[in-house]
């Protein structure tokens, strides 16, 4: 591969960037601007906002989300393994066994640390 092969990519890069840039600049220059307090509000629909939109979420949401991802992936591994179970034989069985032991220890840890309790 030579740099020349990437020429189309480069052109696309500039076209995309240029289009976005020109559009932004054009609206900035052409558009009329009238500032007022209402315009800077989060909702411009006449309703007064209450508090900040960037409220912190409870960390528990993230915790559950992460747990979900881990066990979701576990299943992703296990489907193909189950389909080829006979074919993989003892080797496959032991491998998956080790994988599951590690995950189980993790689950035990979470349980004990209270990650699964909402309150």
């Amino acid at each position: 591969m030579t740099p020349n092969d990437f020429l189309p990519v480069l052109i696309t890069f500039f076209v995309v960037g240029g289009f976005a840039g020109i559009t932004l600049i054009a609206t900035h220059i052409l558009g009329p601007k009238r500032y007022s307090k209402e315009k800077h509000d989060i909702y411009e629909c006449g309703l007064d906002y209450i508090g900040d939109s960037r409220k912190p979420f409870s960390v528990k949401f993230y915790l559950v989300a992460v747990l979900f991802v881990i066990f979701d992936l576990e299943v992703v591994f296990m489907y193909p393994w189950a389909v080829n179970f006979r074919h993989l034989g003892l080797f496959g069985f032991v491998s998956m066994g080790i994988f599951l032991v590690i995950l189980t220890v993790g689950l035990l840890y979470e349980w004990k640390k209270g990650a699964l309790e909402w309150e």
Binding site: M1, T2, F6, G89, V105, G106, Y109, K112
Partner: protein
């Protein structure tokens, strides 16, 4: 079919890592079954016993060298050397920590678990013969380090350091992955041996994207070893981290990163040395100088040691740049020596520090008159400072001596001159500690009690002895280092 596969994997060659994972699982279980808030003691014991097991496994397998997992990892003398060194450092840090983590209010078992997992990541790094395995290793290690840095949750500096380290680390991870992609795109492989073969055959007409890949990987390593201008995270992370972790981070992960650095650049990119030379030259000069100049201005011993560790990384780049066996063995030698003296210095800093919860702790002022208050402790600190400065007959002198003589031998006289000049400048801030200890009067009203723990004292003692022994008779360590790198080239 699969029998062949298993035989070709040589699973036995990674026995130490297997043992280590077992230890981690055991340690987690120990934590789980121990009563709440009282688990650190048992977990620590399990970890220590397990690390001894890892060492035994390493030594058992010391003649079983070769590739494993289809060339994904390489077990050779180099791997063996770093396995032993890294396990030792982790062992020492776990050994000395128990009393300190109580002081720093981080008495949770995760402290030990993360150290063990970081060790696993580092083990992967030092044996990786494939960029993907290397990536796995780096990430495993780094994620543990992010958590360890932020472990003192009640301290703003700890949170800040961890966040900075994490964000910037994530940022550079992107470069690393992209670098791997570009290398794969141009060479068709992520295996270091294949990459070397490819570069050797097309050396004259290297595609630009391959250079970009090499550059991005270089940048990722520069970040992990905190070279200028990618050092930004390290002072804050080092300062915010609990001090035992600072001692750990400035030694073991740095050693592991340099080990991988050597393997990737000597094996994989070995034929590109002339092209990489100018860039590394400048990085070396900047790293040595910037770290030094900023260290001059610090008022905290901990922060001074953090900046000076940047400088020391600069010296290591000088040796790396030689692209010769002598330089590589000088790096190995220096990493060991640096680990010994730095851990020693941080332990003294912990002992002397006035108040762990104080954001502005570790002041030079705490050392005032220490030489008369605690002569033995002060003597140990003096030895460490002299060794860090590189004054004979301490181990640090030979560390620098080997590096700069390797540099001169490869024709980098200018670099050696800059390096020696920098080490002359470093006298100033290391000496400040000695001056405080021996040449300033005690101020008894302001003295804080010394923090003692039996484990710390014994390790400090061993460090002092080693610094002096290696300073008087360095060649045994160097010959080990030489034997370790001989298989690489």
């Amino acid at each position: 079919m699969f029998d062949n596969l298993i035989a070709g994997m040589h699973v036995g060659r990674i026995l130490p890592e297997i043992v280590l994972v077992g230890v981690v699982l055991l340690a987690i279980l120990t934590d789980v079954i121990s009563p709440r808030g009282k688990s650190t003691g048992p977990v620590r014991l399990v970890s220590l016993a397990g690390l001894i097991g890892v060492l035994v496994a390493t030594i058992l397998k010391k003649d079983d060298f070769g590739q494993a997992f289809g060339g994904m990892v390489m077990i050779d003398g180099f791997t063996f050397f770093f396995r032993v060194v890294l396990t030792f450092i982790t062992f020492i840090i776990i050994y000395v920590s128990e009393k300190y983590i109580g002081l720093a209010k981080i008495r949770i078992a995760e402290y030990y678990l993360m150290l063990l997992l970081a060790l696993f990541g580092m083990m992967l790094m030092v044996m990786a013969n494939d960029l993907l395995i290397l990536f796995l290793g780096i990430e495993t290690m780094s994620i543990c380090l992010y958590t360890l840095v932020g472990m003192s949750r009640h301290k703003a500096s700890s949170n800040e350091g961890a966040l900075k380290y994490f964000l910037l680390g994530a940022f550079t991870t992107g470069f690393f992955v992209y670098g791997i992609a570009l290398i794969y795109g141009s060479t068709g492989s992520t295996n270091l041996t294949d990459i070397m073969v490819y570069f050797r055959t097309v050396n004259t007409a290297m595609p630009v994207i391959a250079w970009a890949g090499v550059g991005l990987i270089l940048i990722a390593f520069a970040f992990k070893t905190s070279l200028v201008p990618f050092h930004w995270w390290s002072p804050d992370a080092y300062e915010g981290a609990p001090t035992t972790i600072t001692a750990f981070m400035s030694t073991a992960p740095k050693a592991a990163a340099f080990a991988a650095f050597i393997r990737v650049f000597y094996v994989g990119f070995g034929d590109l040395s002339s092209g990489l030379e100018p860039v590394l030259w400048w990085i070396a000069v900047l790293t040595m100088t910037v770290g030094n100049l900023i260290a001059l201005r610090q008022d905290s011993v901990k922060r001074m040691l953090a900046f000076s560790s940047i400088t020391h990384a600069g010296y290591l780049v000088v040796a790396l740049l030689t692209w010769e066996q002598m330089g590589a063995s000088a790096i190995l030698f220096y990493l060991v020596v640096y680990a010994i003296m730095n851990i020693g210095a941080f332990l003294v800093a912990i002992a002397v520090n006035r108040d762990e919860s104080d954001e502005k702790g570790y002041s030079y002022e705490d050392y005032r008159g220490l030489g008369f208050r605690k002569p033995i402790l002060a003597f140990a600190m003096m030895i460490f400072m002299l060794s860090l400065t590189g004054i004979p007959p301490t181990a640090g002198f030979f560390g620098k001596y080997y590096i700069f003589s390797a540099a001169v031998k490869s024709g980098f006289v200018g670099l050696a001159v800059i390096g020696v000049l920098n080490s002359a400048v470093s006298v100033y801030y290391y000496l400040r500690v000695i001056i405080m200890m021996y040449l300033k009067e005690r101020d008894e009203e302001k003295e804080a009690p010394i923090f003692w723990a039996g484990e710390m004292v014994s390790i400090m003692f061993i460090c002092v002895v080693l610094v002096i022994v290696i300073g008087i008779k360095p060649d045994w360590l160097l010959s080990i280092a030489q034997a370790s790198v001989s298989g690489l080239m």
